[in-house]
């Protein structure tokens, strides 16, 4: 009797986890969303990715669908910014995206206006200066242990 109760509990938990995992973010989505399965709103948001949609992995598609779901809740300025950057972001290599995420998370405590100023200043540097900085950063990264944010498992 206890065994049966245990199995039933397991079954209920499994069903809950499976169902909740598929409807985790906002709205239920297919496990491998094809372009035709997207809503009109999602298609409109992800229009720049339509051509490459077939080449994206299941995880990448799922992530983009989740991102499209967040899009509607963003302010107008952020929407425009996101749309204009989406295509370039998708074209970055997996490793570049991983580095970008790690660097973004590390710089979360820096105010946006300071980051903008720094970016403008950085663009004024010569290619040689930039290369020296990149080499120095690469040297420092070599000695660092992988962390949660820069681990190779963060591939999407």
């Amino acid at each position: 009797m206890i065994g049966r109760r245990f199995f039933l509990a397991c079954a209920v938990l499994t069903m809950f986890l499976t169902v909740s995992s598929f409807s985790f973010a906002q709205g239920v989505m297919p496990s491998n969303p094809s372009w035709s399965s997207l809503t009109n709103s999602q298609k409109e948001t992800l229009a720049t990715l339509q051509e490459d949609w077939g080449t994206l992995s299941v995880e990448q598609r799922t992530k983009w669908v989740q991102l499209a779901n967040r899009y509607e809740k963003l302010p107008e300025t952020d929407r425009e910014r996101l749309k204009s950057r989406m295509s370039d972001w998708a074209k970055l290599s997996t490793n570049d995206r991983r580095v970008a995420r790690a660097n973004f998370i590390k710089s979360l405590d820096i105010p946006n206006d300071k980051k903008s100023e720094a970016w403008e200043a950085y663009q004024q540097l010569t290619p040689e200066e930039k290369k020296q900085l990149a080499d120095e950063a690469a040297e420092k990264n070599k000695s660092k242990k992988p962390s949660l944010v820069n681990s190779p498992t963060l591939k999407n």
Binding site: R4, F7, C10, A11, T14, M15, L17, T18, S20, S21, F22, F24, A25, E59, T62, K63, W64, Q66, L67, R70, Y71, D78, R81, R85, M86, D88, W89, L92, D96, R97, V99, A100, R101, N103, F104, I105, K106, D109, I110, P111, N112, D113, K114, K115, S116, A118, W119, A121, Y122, Q124, L125, E128, E129, K130, K131, L133, E136, A137, L154, N156
Partner: protein
Amino acid sequence: MNASHTNITLINSSVGNPLTSDDLYVDQIGKTISRSLDKELGHLSPKVLQRLEKSREIALSLQKNKSSSASQQNSSKFGFLPKLGPLSPILFVLLLVFGIAQWQQNARINHIADVDTAILTDSVPPDAYADDGFRLFLKKMMTPSDTKPQIESMKIEESSSSAPQENIPANLENRAPDISTNP
């Protein structure tokens, strides 16, 4: 004591004495029938024996059907469990692991979607974050130093500088403006 009393009563009843109670009367009848049946058991005709055997088989088959339908009813409560037999615990553990893995995978994708949304709507373009050099530059700018030149002065210095390029990185830290407002 009771048995002997019953026997005495029976003997008495056979000679016409009144019975002491109804129960005793029924009991007496049963015993009499049983005794006569036992006595006639050896003299049963083959036809009667055959009928008895047939009746027994019918009774047994009815009993068997009843018990099997009862067990089916019992198993229908848990449907698939008895069919799987000893594999059911393994299957459930596998299902559980699959469910947890799915949940973790979706949680991870959800987290990445959050980060990507923030990066794509940030004040700085994503290319900047993909550049480890910029990250180091930003870090140096945010690090308080003794000399605190402004960004403008650095730009002027860069544009008018004729110094050899190999000296620049060594001076970058000092040249980088301190725009830190964080502790």
